[in-house]
């Protein structure tokens, strides 16, 4: 499953889920966890220079302190690479990580697989790093728990809700607010309500305002002379989910198109 957040993306096993999401594009932290002991954590920070070994040493010292309090044993190794540092540690928990700089977006990243000593952490780290990309283009991917969007760059997260069967992401930019929702169990929802009545009830838009469009339903209005309100609703049958994208905008840059929704677009799946 794809996870894309704050300008970077990677793939993780389908049965993993985000357990922590903090920060913004400049600096932040994400942890993706399995049902067992394994997890992946990513830290990022905008910086002018490549990451220093000192930063890594401080981090490992902190881990060592915590680990010695818990089990009294901690070992770590650091290896210098052309692009940064690779490290591993073992103690109360074990970890394998990579610290590197991505010049394309001007950020330093920590990517770390952690879990029990018996977990296959090296393989997990390798898979994660191989799928990891980060760039600074005019389009940015946002993907979390099946909600997969390709939006113009420059958005900031205002609100998120990660509930069972429902994912909501509210993103802001100057003169624009985008609200994207993913609803699971689409077949049950449509069987019970019908697509237009369901969308009408959810969005509080009169059913008569929805019109059939290329990939689903489209509703457009202009609540104020300078403000547009466009909504796209689509059924992603392959994943049995409904995707709703609503944009309230002033500038045409933020007018939603079907290409914004990964399941409706021709954007390469692994792009």
């Amino acid at each position: 499953m794809r996870f894309a957040w704050q300008g970077f993306q990677l793939t993780h096993p389908d049965d993993w889920a985000p357990a922590a999401l903090t920060g913004d594009r400049r600096e932040g932290y994400v942890r993706l966890a399995s049902a067992g002991s394994e997890s992946i954590q990513i830290r990022w920070q905008t910086a002018k220079n490549a990451p220093s070994r000192k930063a890594l040493s401080v981090y490992l010292q902190k881990l060592a302190q915590d680990s010695r309090k818990a089990v009294g044993d901690f070992t770590s190794e650091v290896e210098e690479l052309p692009t940064g540092y690779s490290y591993r540690y073992g103690g109360a928990i074990a970890g394998r990580g990579l610290l590197f700089r991505n010049e394309a977006c001007g950020r330093n990243f920590f990517i770390e697989a952690l879990g029990k000593k018996s977990d296959r952490l090296s393989m997990r780290l390798k898979e994660t790093v191989e799928s990891f990309t980060s760039s600074d283009s005019d389009q940015e991917r946002w993907a979390i728990l099946g909600l997969d969007l390709l939006l113009p760059a420059g958005l900031e997260v205002r609100r998120r809700e990660l509930l069972a069967g429902r994912t909501v992401l509210m993103l802001d930019a100057k003169g624009c607010r985008i609200t994207a929702e993913r609803w699971g169990l689409a077949d049950l929802l449509i069987a019970k309500h019908g697509l237009i009545p369901w969308a009408s009830g959810l969005l509080r838009i009169p059913a008569t305002r929805f019109q059939e469009a290329e990939h689903g339903l489209l509703a457009q209005s202009k609540p104020l002379p300078w403000l547009h309100d466009h909504t796209l609703v689509t059924l992603d049958q392959a994943n049995n989910q409904l995707i709703v994208v609503r944009s309230r905008f002033r500038s045409g840059k933020w007018k939603p198109t079907w290409d914004w929704i990964a399941s409706c677009s021709s954007y390469p799946a692994e792009g």
């Binding site: 049965d15 049902a35 069972a164 699971g184 049950l188």
Partner: protein, 133 residues
């Protein structure tokens, strides 16, 4: 802590289950609850209510002529879970069946199933059979 682990903290009634125990637990329907299928694939459960208490609540229930049964309507999702609560399927295998049928991800299925089993358990419609450690 994942969302599923939060929801899996079911009301213990004195018994504390850890995450792994709960995944291996086998929910079983209360045999006195009757189910009646509806045309749309959902079912209605009928559970008898206890009106025979000797104390004030029982007396009040009889005096107010409260119905002797309580009905619960389950949607197709709930119906599928109910039918799998046969004492043979574990919580983990029910979650897997939901993921396959409704294309849910693991966290979603676990959370939804945990919340639903909690509701059924609170209403005494099911019992969770837990293996001894």
């Amino acid at each position: 802590m994942g969302l599923d682990r939060v929801v899996f903290k079911l009301p213990s009634r004195g018994l504390k289950l850890d995450h792994d125990q709960l995944k291996r637990a086998k929910p079983e329907r209360n045999p006195i609850v009757e189910s009646e299928p509806l045309a749309d694939g959902s079912i209605v459960l009928t559970a008898p209510l206890e009106l025979t208490g000797k104390k004030s609540l029982g007396m009040m229930a009889r005096w107010m002529k409260l119905p002797a049964v309580k009905k619960f309507e389950l949607d197709p999702f709930g119906t599928m879970v109910w039918e799998l609560c046969d004492g043979k399927h574990t919580v983990e295998s029910i979650s897997k069946a939901l993921r396959d049928r409704y294309k849910m991800n693991r966290a979603e299925a676990d959370v939804a199933l945990g919340a639903f089993l909690q509701t059924l358990s609170q209403r005494r419609l099911i019992t969770l059979m837990v293996a001894k450690k």
